[in-house]
């Protein structure tokens, strides 16, 4: 269309000036749009809470990348939750502050006892948040790497007795030695954690492939050694004779380097609150 044609343009094609009412409607629309933008972005900011809370450490499933990489890569699908034979993995809710929909383990309620033998959750993860092979460019924190592949006691007689796990989830620590029955020289009889406790675990002498409730597996031990007795990893914890500050001899659980931080000791500890806890994401300090 040449410039001359513009003169003969029909009236309908010329944009009419906006009426006052129309301008006002448009202005309100812009305001509403800004309001929605603010609202959604405000809610979006809540998504950043886990980064602030990441100081507060939560136990992640085995094979998890370091927290920041884990939060970046987790697609929040819960496939790790679905494959876990003891339902140890839970998805975080809004107020947990560790990332909506990201998996974590509450060891005292239900620890990972490696009933699956193969770290199934790692196999299930579609994004590599849980992984057997950490990419080379991601650094391994000093002390996080295990000195050797952990030997799973349940698999000890199998041709391949190790777990495919290179880094620990955390480290068990005797946080309340004063409450520890072993240190007090006491035994334990009955259901650890009481009759209503729902946590499950596999007992090799019961059924290798079927975890049962620990309330269905009462104990009767003259000197409490439940943490060492039920630890699924070879050489991770033992009851040793140690010297007390006053020079007298006594028994005490001692955690060793192979500890992967699975949390079974924390789950089975009969005292309330537990004497031994997993320090999530903690590294091994000699």
């Amino acid at each position: 269309m040449s410039d001359n044609d513009n003169d003969r343009k029909p009236a309908a094609e010329v944009t009419p000036p906006l009426s006052k009412a129309k301008r006002q409607t448009n202005r309100r629309r812009v305001l509403r749009t800004i309001l929605l933008t603010g609202g959604v972005l405000g809610a979006g900011l809540s998504g950043f809470l886990p980064l602030i809370y990441s100081q507060k450490k939560r136990l992640r499933p085995p094979g998890a990348l370091d927290e920041k990489d884990f939060l970046a890569s987790c697609i929040k699908c819960g496939q790790c939750v679905q494959v876990c034979p003891v339902s140890a993995i839970k998805l975080a809710d809004l107020i947990d502050g560790v990332g909506v929909g990201t998996p974590y383990i509450e060891a005292r309620a239900q620890a990972c006892d490696f009933s699956c033998d193969a770290v199934q959750c790692v196999l299930a993860c579609p994004t590599g948040s849980l992984t057997y092979h950490k990419p080379a460019f991601m650094p391994v924190r000093a002390g996080a790497a295990l000195a050797a592949k952990p030997i799973l006691l349940a698999k000890e007689k199998d041709p391949e007795p190790t777990l495919n796990l290179n880094e620990r989830m955390g480290v068990a620590r005797l946080t309340r030695p004063e409450a520890c029955l072993a240190i007090q020289g006491k035994g334990f009889k009955g259901q650890t954690r009481g009759p209503d406790f729902k946590g499950t675990m596999r007992y090799m002498d019961v059924d290798r492939w079927k975890p049962i409730r620990i309330s269905n597996h009462p104990y009767d031990v003259p000197e409490c050694d439940l943490c060492a007795r039920e630890c699924p990893i070879k050489g991770a914890i033992s009851i040793e004779t140690v010297f007390a500050p006053d020079g007298s001899k006594r028994k005490s659980p001692v955690v060793h380097e192979p500890c992967v931080g699975c949390g079974v000791c924390e789950m089975v500890c009969p005292v309330e609150p537990t004497a031994i806890t997993i320090e999530a994401r903690e590294v091994w300090n000699t």
Binding site: L36, L71, G78, P126
Partner: protein
């Protein structure tokens, strides 16, 4: 494809990103055959009688809506039961899952993770590729209306909104559709810059899907807030103006062969279809005098929900699989 439809194809991509559809304002913008029909319909008194007759005899169908609801509920329950009953057919949630062992990963979630993590493992790539092919075949935003659980709940909330609007208790406050593109860019940038998948924390699709599978949580409060906003303030606001997932799948829909086709000749231009549509801007072509050709494919922002097909009293809107008609 004629030059006119090519131009419309490009225009509809702009519409997907939030621009208003272009009006044909010159005679050359409309094909001669379509011009003839537009001219024939202008002030044709017989047509009014015909229209009233068609109206009186039109049978409202819920065929596509029922099929769609059944598919959506089935898909989401398959997730739920795969876990709850341990039948292991579709494991995971909508963000990422495995269908009898094959990885499926939601395109928008995959994008967020890739941008935040900057490291892509094979399973992620395979799952994303599979889902990409799937939704290219089935029509891009088909995901929204046929699978997304938020869509269904928002559809019910919309009924409440429309009821209240009819009683003049609420009015639909429209917003600028370009906002969705802005959100898409902001969330992509945030993921890339902060290394954290912020959008995944507030995605109602993810929250609802996980709630259906792993049990409800407080995150549902955010979904509730969105629904309240939609009922009392702005009709279908999340799906229309905010959701970046919709835009991601919309882009996939650009090249998809599954779409709604509009036929000009039988249409009475009454706009029933635009009233029920989630994205009425894609139906601009049904407005009197706007269709650029006798048959016009509907653009990529269309969710292929079929409400317009059900509603149209003249059968002027129908599902089409591009290329299949040539085979037949």
């Amino acid at each position: 494809m004629s030059d006119l439809l090519k131009r419309r194809f490009v225009d509809q991509i702009k519409v997907l990103f939030g621009w208003e559809p272009a009006k044909p304002n010159k005679a050359e913008d409309i094909s001669p055959a379509a011009q003839k029909i537009h001219f024939y319909k202008k002030g044709n008194r017989d047509l009014i009688a015909e229209k009233l007759h068609a109206r009186a005899h039109a049978q409202h169908s819920n065929k596509w809506r029922n099929r769609r609801w059944a598919t959506l509920i089935f898909a989401n329950l398959l997730f739920t039961f795969s876990f709850a009953l341990d039948i292991q057919i579709l494991e995971g949630a909508l963000t990422a899952s495995r269908f009898v062992g094959f990885h499926l990963i939601d395109l928008n979630s995959a994008l967020q993770v890739m941008l935040a993590h900057k490291h892509i493992i094979n399973n992620l790539l395979i799952g994303t590729g599979t889902v990409l092919v799937l939704w290219v075949l089935f029509g891009g935003r088909t995901f929204c209306s046929w699978v997304c659980p938020y869509h269904l709940i928002a559809e019910w909330a919309e009924k409440i909104h429309l009821f209240l609007a009819k009683k003049k208790l609420v009015t639909d406050q429209t917003m600028d559709r370009r906002l969705r593109t802005v959100f898409w860019a902001i969330f992509a940038l945030l993921a890339f810059a902060t290394g954290y998948t912020v959008f995944e924390a507030i995605s109602p699709t993810g929250i609802l899907s996980r709630a259906l599978i792993y049990g409800p949580g407080l995150a549902l409060l955010w979904v509730l807030a969105l629904l309240v906003f939609e009922v009392f303030f702005s009709r279908r606001a999340w799906c229309r103006y905010a959701c970046p997932i919709g835009l991601t799948y919309g882009v996939v829909g650009i090249i998809s062969p599954v779409r709604i086709k509009y036929k000009l000749d039988g249409c009475f231009h009454e706009g029933d279809c635009r009233k029920v549509c989630l994205v009425p801007h894609v139906l601009d072509t049904v407005i009197k005098g706007r269709a650029v050709d006798t048959e016009v494919p509907i653009g990529p922002d269309c969710t292929r929900c079929g409400l317009c097909v059900d509603t149209c009293p003249t059968g002027s809107l129908s599902f089409e699989v591009k290329g299949l008609s040539k085979l037949a």
